[in-house]
């Protein structure tokens, strides 16, 4: 059954097909049930913001989408490819998904330029010229064109996170995952990162964003999803979510955070 689904996805992918398809995804850490029957469809160009209390499984869920974590039950299909143990599928899917982490995770022994060109050159086999031109273009886009030759340790947190976004974009992904990209930043640097993300959303990138920035969610999100205890409790448009949320747990969360 799983195979027929994959084939359908690969052959008849159309604009109104979901680019991410999750069905009844379950995951355990030992005895601990982190994800419970999570089902979600994300359309191309959609921006989905994931909210939820700490420890509710938000990070675990988006990390399952590019297989940094393995799910144990259910199905995840990304861009027509199902995530299985097949290493070729995993590699192909990772090429299509960029990820930005809370702690930036830039490579400290490589310059900003090398950080960005590494993926395109080693994975996509681009010539150096092309990779460097792309890197420079992306550095312009995230607003730090003059930092190419520096090392990550010489940049501010906000600049580092923007380099991390450029590094993910350099692979020309179809989907971008953000795991609390602004949580490790000082308040004055949060805006510069959010601005880059807003611009990215407007340019039509499919995005899954875990964040506590409610302003960002209201302004940019097409859909807001609320996680609690490994379950999707409630979802809807930002207007619905922030004004008319039904679920007790959601209301409690919103009352604490707003």
């Amino acid at each position: 059954m799983s195979e027929s689904l994959v084939e359908q996805g690969a052959v008849t992918q159309m604009a109104d097909e979901p680019i991410i398809f999750c069905q009844n995804v379950n995951k355990w850490f030992g005895e601990f049930h982190v994800l419970r029957d999570v089902s979600l469809e994300v359309m191309p160009k959609e921006v989905v913001v994931i909210l939820g209390p700490s420890g509710s499984g938000k990070s675990t869920f988006i990390r399952c989408i590019n297989r940094l974590e393995e799910h144990q039950e259910g199905q995840i299909i990304v861009d027509g490819m199902e995530l299985t143990h097949d290493v070729r599928n995993i590699a192909a899917i990772r090429r299509e998904i960029g990820m930005v982490f809370q702690q930036f995770n830039l490579f400290p022994h490589k310059t900003v330029l090398e950080n960005i060109t590494l993926g395109p050159m080693k994975v996509r086999h681009w010539p150096r010229d092309r990779a460097e031109a792309k890197a420079q273009e992306l550095l312009n886009r995230v607003g730090i064109p003059e930092q190419a030759a520096k090392y990550p340790g010489q940049l501010s947190g906000g600049q580092q996170q923007r380099v991390a976004i450029a590094r993910a974009l350099a692979m020309e992904p179809k989907i971008m995952l953000f795991d609390e990209p602004t949580s490790a930043l000082d308040p004055e640097m949060i805006k510069e990162v959010l601005d880059v993300m807003k611009e990215l959303a407007r340019s039509g990138m499919t995005m899954l964003v875990v964040t506590h920035e409610m302003g960002f969610a209201r302004e940019v999100a097409d859909r807001v999803i609320f996680f609690d205890h490994g379950r999707i409790v409630e979802q809807g448009t930002p207007d619905y979510f922030f004004e008319e949320a039904q679920h007790e747990r959601t209301k409690l969360f919103l009352s604490q955070i707003l």
Partner: protein, 563 residues
């Protein structure tokens, strides 16, 4: 109006209140005091030594040493000078330290990786290894290696030979198993991409081989006989097992057990249809290593007169490989085309090595050679001279088509047929072996910890970031993990290298003739202790500085730039 208030006036001129000037002045004063103190010390010591007639003097080094050395090259006798004895000692120290550094690094890396293993047994064993070795004194360990391990080796007449002399039988079916294994990997695995079926396949392959071997050993009477009772029982067990596993087992056990019964069935078919060939081929085996209380005898490696010509080929191969590596690397960078440059470079090296070996051997040997027979030079056929053992060492090197001769140790026996020693062997003394093993194993425990800590120092996020931009496991290891781990590993590793080099002076305790032991004897005999200690300190200092220098060069490649 200036808003900056002037400091209050003072009798001390302004430049003397400048912190930069004060720093320089402080350093100059310190230097003057240091020189004064040192010169006082040296003058005082000199006076004392002169009074006792012990002034440092290097001329005694040219006097004959008069003592023999346990571990020495052929040219050394008791008539050689102290200086020459010392050179023998330096050589011995370098032999231990150079081999020791390489071996301890390899062993340390291995155990460092084991310490991080997911396998409980491996992790626990290596943890015990590290804790026992680094928490007992090296001197005690050296005594254990020498007085317990080495002294329990057999007398030379009963030397342990490895491998045992005799015939080896290599069964053809063992080769068949290898073929089966690679065929499975190449042709079957790609079709079964998901984990359960791959697990079944792995278990199946292993079972096929094990079951076929067992059948071969325990049911030989039924080989190739389809009507045999044991075949029918074998088939029944397989089929029942398969049916049970297929219909009644679910969960974790299902696929492994299906693999096992499937493999058993396949093995049974191969066996009973007589597909497994029964034959094999024989090889003559001669011992290459002898171990006894007198030491270790290894095969001798002898470069012949054609060695240089062959070395030229090898060098050309290496240079070519280097050029190709760089050139293909640049092509990949500029065009993005992927070229397996490692494979090409390896091919160049192997190609030139083999071609050189063959080409060098083309020139034929003379059929008649002049040999010295009882004082007169006579011509005789080469083969005859060889069998009569009339060729000198020089001749052996001259009359060989190979660039390198590898000769196995030849047993030397007395009239009674008792083994007394070996010819044509590289001999290693038990003292050298004990010191080497002691130093290598002791230091490897520390290196294992350093390697473990270095790898753990790379944050998990680095690996996740690398995987998320699509790098493979190997690329992640090479480009992200190792460079960052080495940055943490190299400085403490340098310390361990220095420790090994300096600890080699413990050779004294087990009577290995290293430079310290020889210098101790020299000082006892000549009474020149000040000179002796000075020389020995310069010796170890030089060795340590060379190691530090090399390691600092390596280290500078892995420095991080930060704010």
């Amino acid at each position: 109006m200036s808003a900056i208030s002037q400091p209050s006036r003072s009798i001390i001129p302004a430049f003397l209140r400048d912190s930069r000037v004060l720093q320089v002045i402080g350093q100059i004063i310190f230097l003057i005091l240091l020189v004064l103190a040192l010169s006082q010390l040296v003058a005082g010591v000199n006076e004392q030594l002169q009074a006792k007639n012990l002034t440092p003097n290097f001329s005694f080094l040219n006097n004959p040493a008069g003592f023999d050395i346990g571990e020495k090259p052929d040219w050394y006798t008791r008539d050689n000078t102290y200086l020459e004895a010392f050179i023998v000692g330096v050589t011995n120290t370098l032999r231990v330290v150079s081999v020791g550094l390489v071996a301890t690094t390899l062993l340390g890396i291995l155990f460092g990786i084991f310490l991080l293993s997911n396998n409980w047994l491996l992790r626990t064993i290596s943890r015990a290894y590290v804790e026992i070795l680094r928490n007992t004194p090296l001197l005690v360990q050296l005594f254990a290696w020498y007085f317990i391990v080495m002294f329990s080796l057999p007398q030379i007449r009963d030397a342990i030979a490895f491998p045992q002399e005799g015939r080896a039988f290599i069964a053809v079916r063992l080769l068949l198993y290898v073929v089966v294994y690679f065929a499975m990997r190449r042709y079957v695995r790609p079709f079964s991409v998901d984990a359960p079926r791959r697990i079944a396949l792995t278990y199946g392959t292993i079972t096929t081989i094990v079951a076929a071997e067992l059948a071969f050993h325990f049911l030989p009477e039924s080989y190739g006989d389809l009507t045999n009772v044991s075949f029918l029982a074998y088939a029944a067990v397989s089929i029942v097992g398969f049916v049970v596993a297929w219909f009644y087992l679910h969960g974790n056990l299902r696929w492994p057990i299906l693999g096992v019964v499937g493999g058993q069935f396949l093995a049974g078919l191969l066996f009973y249809f007589g597909v497994l060939p029964n034959s094999g081929f024989r090889l003559d085996v001669y011992p290459a290593i002898y171990i006894s209380i007198r030491g270790f005898a290894f095969p001798e490696i002898l470069p012949t007169n054609r060695f240089v010509a062959w070395a030229v080929f090898v060098t050309v191969g290496l240079v070519l490989a280097g050029i190709m590596w760089g050139y293909f690397g640049r092509i990949t960078e500029t065009t993005g085309r992927v070229i397996p440059r490692g494979r090409y470079a390896l091919l160049a090296i192997i190609g030139f090595t083999v071609a050189g070996w063959l080409l060098v051997g083309i020139e034929p040997l003379p059929t008649q050679v002049p040999v010295d027979q009882d004082g007169t030079i006579v011509l005789m056929p080469l083969e005859e001279a060889r069998t009569q053992d009339l060729l000198s060492a020089e001749d052996v090197r001259l009359y060989s088509t190979q660039p390198i001769l590898l000769t196995l140790p030849q047993e030397r026996r007395n009239r009674g047929g008792v083994l007394t020693g070996f010819n044509n062997a590289t001999q290693i003394s038990p003292e050298y072996m004990a010191l080497l093993l002691g130093l290598v194993i002791y230091t490897s425990a520390f290196i294992a910890e350093i390697v473990r800590a270095g790898i753990q120092a790379v944050p998990r996020g680095q690996i996740e970031a690398a995987r998320s931009i699509g790098l493979s496991t190997a690329q992640t290891l090479n480009m992200i993990v190792l460079p960052q781990a080495l940055r943490v590993i190299i400085p403490p590793l340098t310390n361990q290298y220095l420790n090994l080099a300096k600890n080699s002076s413990l050779a004294l305790a087990i009577a290995f003739a290293d430079m310290f032991q020889i210098m101790t004897t020299t000082m006892n005999q000549s009474g020149q202790s000040v000179t002796g200690i000075t020389i020995i300190m310069i010796g170890y200092l030089t060795m340590s500085l060379v190691i530090s220098l090399v390691m600092n060069l390596v280290n500078s490649r892995f420095q991080l730039v930060t704010r």
